[in-house]
Point group: C2
Chain length 171, copies 2
C-alpha cells in the first residue's frame, strides 16, 4: 500500500489553495491541500504499524512549527507544478530530516522544497500563461502546524488519513 | 466551521465502496468512504479544542469494535441513499451514544443506522433501477475499527482530517 506523511494547513489556507486547484490541479479531488513532509513510500500492513510507531517517536521529539507561505513558486521546467512556497525554517527542516534520513522508505531524490501545490500537470503553454499572474497575486500567510498525518492511497488515487501525530511531548 | 466524526474502513472496503460511489455518489470526491459516528455539527476554533479533548476522553474508554457489513440497504423513500449496512453491535452503539447523547452538538434526529454510503442524490427512477441489483450483489465483509477521525469541511465541500483518536486505553 502507498503511504505518505503530510501536514494539512488551516481551513483558511486550504480554501485559498483550492480556489486555484479547482481549476489547475487534476489531483484536486484526491486529497485536500497539504504540505508533504515524507513523500510516497510502500509498506505492507505489518510494516506500517512499525512505521507509525516510529513516526510517533519522531513527532514526540519535535515541537509545532511555523508555516509561512509568502510567494508563489514553480518547479518548471522539471515539472509544470506551481505552489505556495513555504519557508524552510529550522523546525521544519529537522522534522523532514528525521522522517527521511535513516528512516523507513527511500531517501528523497531532491532537496526539500516545502510547498503546498496549487497547480500541476499543466501543459507548458498553460503553465507559462498563468505563472506570471499567480506570482503577481502572490500569497502571504502564516500559521502554526501542530500535527502531521499519515495517509494511504486508495485504488482510485484518493488519500485517506490513517493516523494523526501531534507535534508535542504528550503526543 | 463544520465538523463530523467518522471511521474510515480498511482500503479493501473503501475500494469496494468507491467502485459504486464513482458512478452513483456526487459526494464521491469530497471524502473517502466512511461510517459516520457523529453527524455534522458546528464549532468555532475555541470550541473545537474542547470538543477534541472530550472525544479523546470518550474514545479512551472504548475498545475497538467489529465492523460487519453484510447487506445493502436504502433510506428510500426518505432519501434515495443506498449503503452498506453495518451491524449495530453493543460496542458501536455505546460509542455512538457517548458521542451524541449529552455531548457537544445536537442530539441526532433519527435512530442510528450505521452504514457506509455507496450511492446518494439519485432520482427515484435511478434509485429504483439499481437498488435491486445492488441488493442482489450484496456485500460481506468484517474488520476491526480501532480509530475514529474528527474531520472538518472546507468551502468546496471536501473534508479534511483534524485529528485521529485510537479506541484503546493509551490512546
Amino acid at each position: 500500500m502507498k503511504y505518505g506523511v503530510v501536514a494539512f494547513p488551516s481551513k483558511k489556507l486550504q480554501d485559498l489553495a483550492n480556489a486555484y486547484r479547482k481549476r489547475y490541479d487534476p489531483h484536486y479531488a484526491q486529497i485536500t491541500p497539504h504540505l508533504t513532509v515524507k513523500g510516497v513510500f510502500e509498506a505492507n500492513d505489518q510494516e506500517i504499524e512499525e512505521v507509525a510507531k516510529a513516526i510517533k517517536e519522531v513527532t514526540k521529539k519535535h515541537t509545532p512549527f511555523e508555516l509561512n507561505v509568502s510567494k508563489v513558486g514553480t518547479f518548471a521546467p522539471i515539472t509544470n507544478t506551481i505552489y505556495f512556497k513555504a519557508t524552510l525554517n529550522d523546525e521544519l527542516a529537522a522534522l523532514h530530516k528525521d522522517l527521511n534520513n535513516d528512516f523507513f522508505g527511500e531517501k528523497p531524490e531532491f532537496a526539500f522544497v516545502p510547498h503546498v501545490t496549487i497547480a500541476q500537470k499543466l501543459s507548458s503553454g498553460e503553465h507559462d500563461d498563468i505563472i506570471g499572474q499567480l506570482k503577481m497575486i502572490g500569497v502571504d500567510h502564516t500559521e502554526t502546524i501542530d500535527r502531521l498525518h499519515l495517509t494511504y492511497q486508495l485504488e482510485d488515487g484518493s488519500w485517506t488519513v490513517y493516523e494523526t501525530f501531534r507535534l508535542d511531548e504528550d503526543n
